[in-house]
């Protein structure tokens, strides 16, 4: 089954070109040219991913992003001509998982789309713990005691990456590579914004996080495991080149 991508862009030439490139990669595109119709197009197409231009006539991209996010966890990648802080952060905070600044190369776009479409088919059944949370990797579920916590796939990947190696401090660059699939330098604001969003969902007090901890000047790591059965599952050993948290 080929992945489906909804392209929301008012520039029809660019949308068509994106469609050509995506079809060349074996992805089925569908299109919507304005913000007002985006939600209807989304419901109809049921895409696996949305490519969303930030500047749209009518309802702007940020509002479209917020509405889609309100009813779906589907990955959203923004296309933006302005890469100034406020625009990008506003987009990410409205729920986008990633963004691609214009002008982009086709390979770059495809890499971003592929990274978000990738499902961990090779995931072994695995249960991770971070703070007082239990993370079921295969089931993509996070729970605190009896309570289930809903996370987007990206937020889940971020939490799982941290929890899988609780002894390691992850720099933002390493997280960008592991979670977002960036190979080269990229925008560390992605990490900052998503860590904040993740914290707002999983922490008791996002101002004083206990699950995703900031290591000043370095990056992030998972909080110590808490709870009645703290002796539980040791995490699998990580790869080489990791930084020791000690």
């Amino acid at each position: 089954m080929t992945p489906r991508v909804l392209v929301v862009d008012d520039d029809t030439a660019l949308a068509e070109m994106i469609g050509i490139v995506l079809r060349g990669e074996g992805i089925t595109p569908s299109f919507c040219a304005d913000g007002a119709g985006a939600l209807a197009a989304f419901r109809e197409a049921k895409p696996d991913l949305v490519l969303l231009d930030l500047m749209l006539p009518g309802v702007d991209g940020i509002e479209v992003c917020r509405r889609i996010r309100a009813e779906s966890d589907v990955p959203i990648v923004m296309l933006t001509a302005r890469s100034d802080t406020s625009d990008v952060v506003a987009g990410l905070e409205s729920g986008a998982d990633d963004y691609v600044p214009k002008p982009f190369k086709p390979k770059e776009l495809v890499a971003r789309v592929r990274a978000r479409l990738r499902r961990r088919e090779d995931e072994v059944p695995e249960t991770l713990r971070a703070g007082d949370l239990v993370i079921d990797v295969a089931g993509h579920a996070v729970s605190r005691g009896e309570q289930q916590i809903a996370l987007t796939p990206l937020e889940f990947d971020l939490l799982a990456a941290l929890a899988r190696k609780p002894w390691q401090v992850f720099t933002r660059e390493v997280l960008l590579e592991q979670v977002w699939g960036y190979r080269h330098q990229a925008d560390t604001r992605l990490v900052n914004v998503h860590v904040q969003r993740l914290r707002s969902k999983i922490e008791h007090d996002p101002e004083h996080p206990e699950v995703v901890l900031t290591v000043r000047g370095v990056g992030y790591r998972a909080g110590a495991v808490k709870g009645d059965d703290a002796a539980a599952p040791s995490a699998p050993q990580g790869g080489a080149g990791t930084v020791d948290a000690g």
């Binding site: 030439a13 660019l14 070109m17 490139v21 001509a81 600044p101 214009k102 086709p106 390979k107």
Partner: protein
């Protein structure tokens, strides 16, 4: 205690001197008081003198006349009296005492009848002077004059009265006392009444003069205050305006000259404000325009870019001309994109919207990354890149993205112009400053061009074709990046010997930039220092020809995007297939 008083006096003196210098009012009042005091002293002195003169002159004439009459009456009585013996003569003198003593009317203070010291007469007459008078009162010159001349002589004397003395006039003449021979007869006239009149006149003059001076000072003070206050207000308003508050105006009252000054000032301020606001709007508009154009170009560029890439992928299926066209199209699209990115970055610097996002960075890592990135290009042109870094970490508070961008620019630039000879990259640091030197041994550049390589779109030889990638803004952006860190970018070069670029960064953006821990290569230093004093070059460590880049403003705002990283990528990849003719220097 005296020390403290002295200090106070000195402080008061300094304060007064400062007020004198600073305040027009104090100066005008001071000068007025001083000059009018002088005038009053001169006029008053003259008046007192003239009045005194008149007063005494009249009294003297009167005294002369009375003395002459008294003496003549005495002489006549003596001539008519029969005084054949000394006893009778003495009796005659004693009988005339009262008459002699009353000569001079109201001012009569007495008389003295003195024997001429050299007289050879055998008879002397004693006791012939009024009470309270002694011959010592009379000055010797007066007595000599009376003895030597037949006319009346006069001189002022100090008449003892109580504790002190009062002024008086002694008028003397000779009389012939028959048997006793020549005698000197002096009448003393008391002048204290005239003196007290004169004193009263002088007091009136002094007091009146002082009052007049004070009055003048007060009037001038009030008048100058009236004039100076609007001037001071205008000065204060001008000062606030130059500090940036363009809304400053002064109050205008009335229609006099000062009101005209105020009105003109306000008109000038309004006109300035209009001009400045208009220019600021224009500048903002222009920067906004550049930014908008750059952004608006991005969407079509993205489409073109993707189309170009698709064509490029499929070029194997195209005929040779179309295939090459696809290659050219993609390469030039890359260049176009790099140019656009640089243009946007430059407009961000121009708008003062570039902000430093500094954190501690090990520059060795940056150098390694840049050199690694440059390796494929260097290898393609058979240019060895030799790196010298210290064994210990070289940390500085800097924005890695910007510093890496500068280094990429320098290294790619050096590789591009190295002509197959080695490129040396050296990193060094001391307590305050970090230096990176990038040296090539290629075609080099003329020393007089050294200061221009940082100009936007500058090329050493405009006649040469623009064939290599790069936007022409790389070094200009690098300069801005260096300045944003509080550092600077310098270059020396010699034709045929190569060029050396040196980036100097302070350890922290707030710190002062120290002397460079790395000297410029000695063989690139020009033989003679440039003579042009207007050239923005500064000699560093005795090395002539080192160019300090004039600083540009960088102020907080949004942070930039990839900028010339894209340009560097473009040089690294896109330009390679296109390079055929000799490259323009330092494009």
């Amino acid at each position: 205690m005296p020390g403290r008083v002295g200090r106070r006096l000195r402080a008061a003196g300094a304060g007064a001197a400062q007020r004198w210098r600073r305040s027009l009012q104090v100066r005008v009042v001071g000068l007025t008081v001083a000059l009018s005091t002088l005038t009053m002293a001169v006029v008053g002195g003259f008046l007192a003198d003239a009045i005194g003169e008149r007063l005494f002159e009249a009294r003297r004439d009167q005294a002369f006349a009375e003395a002459a009459a008294g003496a003549q009456a005495f002489q006549e009585r003596l001539d008519q009296a029969d005084v054949p013996t000394a006893v009778e003569l003495r009796q005659f003198v004693a009988d005339n005492r009262e008459q002699l003593g009353s000569v001079g009317g109201d001012g009569a203070a007495g008389y003295l009848l003195l024997r001429v010291p050299a007289s050879e007469a055998s008879v002397t007459v004693n006791g012939s002077l009024s009470a309270g008078l002694t011959p010592g009162l009379l000055s010797d010159p007066l007595r000599e004059a009376v003895r030597d001349r037949p006319t009346q002589q006069a001189a002022p004397v100090a008449l003892p009265r109580g504790e002190g003395t009062v002024p008086a006039l002694a008028v003397g003449q000779r009389v012939d006392l028959a048997l006793a021979g020549q005698y000197e007869l002096y009448f003393v006239i008391d002048l204290s009444r005239e003196q007290s009149t004169l004193d009263a006149v002088q007091r009136v003059l002094v007091v009146g003069g002082l009052l007049l001076v004070l009055l003048l000072g007060g009037v001038v003070s009030v008048v100058t205050r009236l004039v100076v206050r609007p001037v001071r207000e205008a000065a204060a308003a001008a000062a606030r305006m130059s500090a940036g508050d363009l809304d400053q105006r002064v109050d205008v009252r009335g229609e006099d000259d000062l009101a005209a000054l105020g009105r003109t000032f306000n008109e000038m301020a309004a006109s300035l404000q209009r001009q400045i606001t208009r220019l600021a709007d224009l500048s903002r508009l222009q920067q906004r325009f550049v930014s908008d154009v750059s952004h608006e170009l991005r969407t079509p560029l993205t489409t073109m870019r993707m189309a170009g890439e698709v064509l490029h992928e499929a070029r194997g299926d195209l005929e040779p001309a179309a295939s090459r066209s696809a290659e050219l199209l993609l390469a030039q699209l890359d260049r176009f994109e790099a140019l656009l990115a640089d243009l946007l970055e430059m407009s961000r610097f121009d708008a003062g919207a570039a902000a430093l996002d500094a954190e501690p960075v090990d520059l060795r890592a940056l150098v390694a990354r840049v050199v690694e990135h440059a390796e494929p290009v260097a290898a393609a042109q058979s240019v060895p890149v030799l790196v010298t870094v210290p064994p210990e970490p070289v940390t500085a508070e800097a924005e890695a993205r910007r510093v890496e961008r500068v280094l990429r620019n320098l290294v790619f630039n050096a590789v591009e112009h190295a002509e197959g000879r080695p490129v040396e990259v050296e990193l060094a640091a001391d307590g305050t400053t970090v230096a990176v030197l990038v040296r090539d041994h290629g075609i080099g550049l003329r020393p007089e061009d050294a200061e221009r390589v940082f100009d936007r779109f500058w090329r050493a030889d405009p006649a040469r074709a623009r064939t290599t990638g790069g936007s022409g803004l790389g070094l200009a952006i690098s300069t801005e990046d260096a300045v944003l860190h509080g550092g600077r970018l310098e270059v020396v070069g010699q034709l045929g010997l190569g060029a050396a670029f040196r980036l100097l960064l302070p350890r922290t953006p707030e710190a002062e930039l120290g002397p460079s821990p790395l000297p410029m290569p000695a063989d690139l230093a020009p033989a003679a220092p440039p003579d042009d004093p207007s050239a923005p070059s500064v000699l560093v460590e005795g090395l002539p020809g080192v160019v300090l880049v004039p600083s540009a403003a960088g102020s907080p705002g949004a942070w930039g995007d990839a900028g010339t990283e894209a340009a560097a990528d473009a040089i690294a990849t896109a330009s390679l297939p296109v390079v055929q003719p000799p490259a323009g220097r330092r494009g």
